[in-house]
């Protein structure tokens, strides 16, 4: 009675395992990359790299569920026996944390030459490329349009605003930037004002964008790619670059960053991948794709639905300072999140 189902189960296991074993194939050089940029945008770039160089890419991607920090935490956990050669971070703060923990190795790519100094580590521990802008997504039926982050504290918008959980992702980075630019006292007062004005929290920028598009809230601070994707879906939303006035802070930019891992198993192919990611061609592809990333090299066409970088007033910041501030304000942010709204 038992024999054939057991045999069937065993055969199923063996066949499935054999199929899997056949998949990797070949003896071509391999580079291992951990990616916290969205897979849907980063995978095609890595496939192109494979096709153009013959170097096999084995990637680990992040998920929204780990708030895009899963791969970084894995790099930290694997510190004593690194498995990865390269880390493609979706913002420079994570790269900076790796530098501080001794997990990043210096590498100055020849393709980093055209990228402004404010977007890269001076010693080559990380290099930024292809940025997102932090913008306001506004529902078309919201009536008036907010034009500044300060609108979050304006009684006109009481109970009508949402923001991604500031403990995670680019929202944390931008709030840390506000602490750097304004000082702790003013930034804390602003955060308290948001709470008093009935701000709601969402799990991620993507969720915030969906909630605004669905009319649940009037506006939210999100990444530019979140807005562009909803525009392409013909959702009833507008994009607003915040704080563009003469005294305004400007729009905060969050570039991707690439890091060579210290004691990487394959550093040479790792450097080739870094060169590829920092090239103008890759920036152009990321600009044309649904990721709508803003190129940091001059002379590369930007995403069609976004203004060129030189037409937008941007926030002037130092990412190393922001990384240090971010870790310092985490306990405050945790209390702020837990205090309820």
């Amino acid at each position: 009675m038992l024999k054939w189902p057991v045999l069937a189960a065993a055969a199923f296991a063996v066949i499935a395992f054999a199929v899997w074993r056949l998949l990797p194939g070949g003896q071509s050089p391999t580079v291992v990359v951990y990616v916290s940029h969205d897979q849907v945008f980063s995978e095609p770039i890595l496939k192109d790299f494979e096709n153009e160089t013959g170097i096999k890419v084995r990637a680990v991607y992040d998920t929204e569920e780990t708030k895009s920090t899963g791969t970084m935490n894995r790099l930290i956990a694997e510190k004593n026996n690194p498995q990865a050669d390269v880390y493609w971070a979706n913002e420079p703060i994570r790269a900076e944390v790796l530098r501080q923990q001794g997990i990043a190795a210096p590498y100055i790519s020849p393709n980093a030459e055209g990228i402004a100094g404010s977007f890269k580590d001076p010693n080559g521990y990380w290099t930024g490329f292809a940025a997102r802008a932090r913008v306001l997504i506004v529902n078309k039926n919201a009536g008036a349009k907010p034009d500044s982050l300060l609108a979050y504290a304006d009684p006109q918008w009481r109970g009508k605003t949402v923001i991604a959980n500031p403990l995670f992702g680019t929202t944390t980075t931008e709030i840390a930037a506000l602490f750097v630019l304004w000082g702790d006292e003013r930034a804390q007062a602003f955060m308290s004002a948001l709470k008093a004005n009935g701000i709601k929290l969402s799990p991620s920028n993507g969720d915030s964008a969906d909630l605004v598009a669905a009319g649940e809230f009037a506006f939210s601070l999100v990444d530019s790619d979140d807005v562009v994707s909803r525009m392409r879906q013909h959702q009833p939303i507008d994009l607003v670059y915040p704080d563009q006035g003469a005294d305004g802070l400007g729009c905060f930019l969050v570039p991707n960053a690439v890091v060579l891992i210290a004691q990487a198993p394959h550093p040479d192919v790792g450097k080739k991948l870094i060169d590829y990611l920092l090239s103008k061609e890759t920036e152009a592809k990321l600009a044309r794709s649904d990721a709508a990333q803003i190129p940091l090299h001059s002379g590369v066409d930007g995403p069609p639905k976004l203004l060129p970088i030189d037409k937008v007033k941007t926030t002037q910041v130092n990412y190393t300072e922001i990384a240090a501030k971010l870790q310092a304000i985490q306990p405050f942010l945790k209390r702020w999140v837990e205090s309820g709204s």
Partner: protein, 529 residues
Amino acid sequence: MTERLILILATLVLALIGLLPVAAMLKETLIADGSFSLDAYRALLASDGQFAVLVGHSLQLSFLTAVISTLIGVPLGVLLGKTDLPLRGALTLLFTAPLLVPSYVLAVAWFSILGRTGLLGRVLPDAWSQEISSAFFGLFGCTFVLVTAFMPIAMLLTIAFLRTVNPRLENAGRLVSGWPRILLRITLPLMAPAIVFAAVLTFLLSLGEIGVPMYLRFPVYPVETLTQFAAFYDFRAATVAAAPLLLVTLIILGFQTGLHKRVLELGRRTPNGQVVVVALGPWRLPLFLLVLALAIVVVATPLGALVVQSSSLEIYKVALFRAGDSVLRSLAFAATSATLLAVLGFFLGYLSERRTLPIWWANEWLALLLLALPGSVIGIGLISLWNTKATSFIYASPAILVLGYVAQYAILPMRVVAASLGTIPRSLEQAARLSGAGWFMTLREIVAPLAGRGLIAAWLIGYVFSLRDIAISMVVYPPGSDTLPIRILTLMANGAPSLVAVLCIILIAITLLPLGVAGLWLKVGAKRP
């Protein structure tokens, strides 16, 4: 001698796979700057009132989910496993489907229906849709989604354990009473361990759930673990944050042990695998319509939303092109883990049931604790233990995933096999041994064939849970070897909803594949003379 040796070996395997990674993590929490320290635990206790609020939310959500899932799942299991209701097999498969999909995906599917601009929101008056949408984002929505996801556990365990009830007792009852009274006074009390186990399992799975509460903005305690990992990059604090979950598990386990002991003794006296079928008579059609309505609400609606989003064949081609490898890998990893889980579960289940070694209870406790631990903690433990130069060949290969699945889900096949063995009289084994058969021969020729259905169920349960796993896979999957649920999650960030929907449907299909094969086999087997 052989028996004791093999059972000790099985115990050691579970300890190696499950206990060592956790011990490695635990050690990290007790050492600060090279010396013993309880600072991380003190910091947890010193945290403000929010700790109690979050734990309260978690207990509230888990309790409601466990109670409602059991209250619906058990009667449903009885209807599908013991009556002449039409289309029982098809309905059982249909109700099982939500268990096969990551619950986060279910929440997204429900949002596309219940959200203010969702399918329902568009046809209802604005005030109503606003009301439903706000209720959905909170305890109500979380409980609703988790009940739809976990209710099949109570249903499936009820169907499986109905076979452990001695039909003679029910037949005796029929001489003096009708079926409703027999079910309430004889059948269900005899199955109490299975019902309690289903409730406990649902409680523990809900307790560790992160995706649905985060998506529906209901703050629960496991988010604390995630926050420590994701926001503070603090592995020590993250592991310590899992301690209250372990404490709750231990309390439940302690409570359950007594009940388990008392009632299982009764169930063990059931040598017959036959189920007495309840003829529903005039209630057949109304009950069928009721079950059908439930299936439409809790299964067809969210899965239908996925189907509506994936109506183009072109999307299936794109999905297979982009995720074909992940599908094959998922099949391979889940099948391998299921086979190991069934083999390990057989020996550990045998030990639990026959209690040959005095430490049988240690396996039960360890396995249940491993199920209750957040997968991310087990994952980090696996990294701490296996990511060394000497063991890279395991860590950098899919073996690490298989080890993780076996560790976290060992309790499931173990319990299923133990329940199955409970129906086999020991006298059969004793007779074989007296006739000169060794222990292995007795297992091979007597015990395993008689526990065949239980073993198949153990394999299937191991397969389903390994296939849908996210928490462990996310932390340790080898570079370039993602599984289908991971690919679904990574594509959910800005991926086309139609592509995500198709991948969910493929995930359901590959999960149902062996379930369908097993169902066919049972059908063919039943027709044989």
